[in-house]
């Protein structure tokens, strides 16, 4: 009866195990950080809406100001989705029989709201205020991206806490004059000098806090 002997190649096992034990944790760390980041999970959420409304046409080609529809954005925490009447300002006369407008017309006759699917959603323990940002030099594009180029709107930013705080700690790069708030093509980093942005920061009294209670209360 011959005795069992480890084959010679088993000498390779030890270096292989050491290699695996050092690389696999790094790999796992990378996998979680990259794969579970809000930039992977949340950015790019693009639900199909009940009305195939195109921001690219209305805000882009026609150049309607964001505030024509989202009327509460300068006054309230919530940037309102427009009333059906706002659609009908034009669409009683423009393409009223279009099948794409069926749900809007239905809402207009029944008085029941159009059921849009919400895209940008913060956790409900975070209290974001649109008016506080919009009236003090943070434009729509900083968070929502080039909505005027989106045929169907998708989430452009991670809306994660780290992303919020990044700007709260260095708001200068996102500042713009109030006249350019809804101008999505305006880029403060190229069109304003560092000094001009510092003047804006002074003018708007921007001292963003990164205390917990700023957003969580």
């Amino acid at each position: 009866m011959s005795r069992f002997l480890f084959p010679r190649w088993s000498n390779l096992l030890l270096p292989t195990i050491i290699l695996a034990a050092t690389t696999i944790p790094v790999y796992a760390l990378f996998f979680v950080a990259y794969g579970f980041s809000p930039k992977t999970l949340d950015v790019g959420y693009q639900p199909t809406q009940v009305v195939p409304y195109s921001h690219a046409l209305h805000a882009g080609e026609l150049g309607l100001d964001c505030r024509y529809c989202h009327i509460s954005v300068e006054k309230a925490a919530h940037a309102s989705v427009p009333a059906t009447q706002t659609c009908m300002n034009c669409h009683t006369l423009i393409r009223p029989d279009s099948p794409k407008l069926a749900k809007v017309k239905e809402s207009f006759t029944t008085g029941l709201p159009v059921q849009w699917t919400r895209i940008h959603k913060l956790p409900e323990y975070a209290y974001f205020n649109h008016s506080a940002h919009v009236s003090r030099g943070i434009g729509c594009v900083s968070c929502h991206g080039r909505i005027d180029k989106m045929e169907i709107v998708y989430q452009n930013s991670p809306l994660s806490m780290g992303w919020c705080i990044e700007c709260h700690r260095n708001p200068d790069v996102n500042l713009r004059p109030t006249s350019e708030i809804t101008n999505l093509a305006f880029d403060g980093t190229t069109e304003l000098s560092v000094d001009e942005r510092a003047v804006l920061k002074d003018k708007f009294h921007i001292k963003p806090s990164d205390d917990c209670s700023t957003c969580h209360r």
Binding site: P38, L41, P96, L112, Q115, E124
Partner: protein, 231 residues
């Protein structure tokens, strides 16, 4: 010489290493493509709470709205419309020629009016008020489509605010048109605050003056500059 393990083991090892490269590719692809599904929530924490937020849904009500509309016939404080000058632009049964006393005409007011005009009115009337806004241009194109007006379009050319008839309107009437609409134009009373509608009306009068001004209305000390700069 190093002796190698059996072939199948080497093969399995290479395969396992290659498999590690797959997740990064999948993640990169997920990042680059839009998705119609919201991210799966593994940890709910308190992301969703049993409270109602603006414009959210509440199945308890027949219309599904969490935000309730005012009960028919109720009047909010300050919205009784007792001051017809402020709420309708009417003084003593006639269109008001002035802004309400609470709103002195200042540079700030006119600039506010200009800003609001550019948001709400310029879509049809154009930034200069000539009735050449982008919506109007597009709608007129639809009207002249060779197959007839598309999808029942029945647009009427937006009014130029410099039309002699419109130019003669009192500021109170312009306020009223902005509020309640006229002919095919919808009213903007629900979309624009009363103060902003007055600011718009004041700006429209300013715009009309600016486009129909004579040299006599320019202060003498500025006339030379106008002659130099305006060709």
């Amino acid at each position: 010489m190093i002796s190698l393990p059996p072939r199948w083991m080497l093969f399995a090892g290479v395969l396992a290493t290659l498999a590690l490269a797959v997740p990064p590719f999948v993640i990169a692809r997920v990042r680059a493509t839009p998705d119609s599904n919201r991210a799966v929530h593994l940890f709910f924490d308190m992301d969703f709470q049993p409270k109602f937020r603006p414009q959210s849904a509440n199945p308890l009500f027949a219309d599904g709205r969490a935000q309730r509309t005012a009960v028919a016939g109720t009047v909010a404080r300050g919205e009784a419309g007792l001051d017809t000058h402020l709420s309708e632009g009417v003084v003593g049964g006639k269109w008001a020629d002035t802004l309400p006393a609470s709103m002195p005409v200042t540079r700030e007011l006119l600039e506010r009016g200009q800003g609001r005009f550019n948001i709400y009115c310029s879509a049809c009337h154009g930034y200069g008020g000539y009735g050449d806004g982008t919506v109007n241009v597009r709608a007129m194109t639809l009207m002249s489509s060779s197959d007839g007006p598309a999808n029942g379009t029945s647009w009427v050319q937006a009014k130029s605010l410099h039309d002699p008839i419109v130019r003669d309107h009192a500021v109170g009437m312009i306020f009223n048109v902005a509020t309640n609409g006229i002919r095919t134009m919808s009213g903007y009373g629900a979309q624009i605050d009363v103060a902003d509608r007055w600011a718009i009306a004041a700006y429209v009068k300013t715009l009309q003056l600016s486009q129909n001004a004579s040299m006599q209305s320019v202060p003498p000390e500025l006339r030379d500059r106008i002659k130099k700069e305006v060709k």
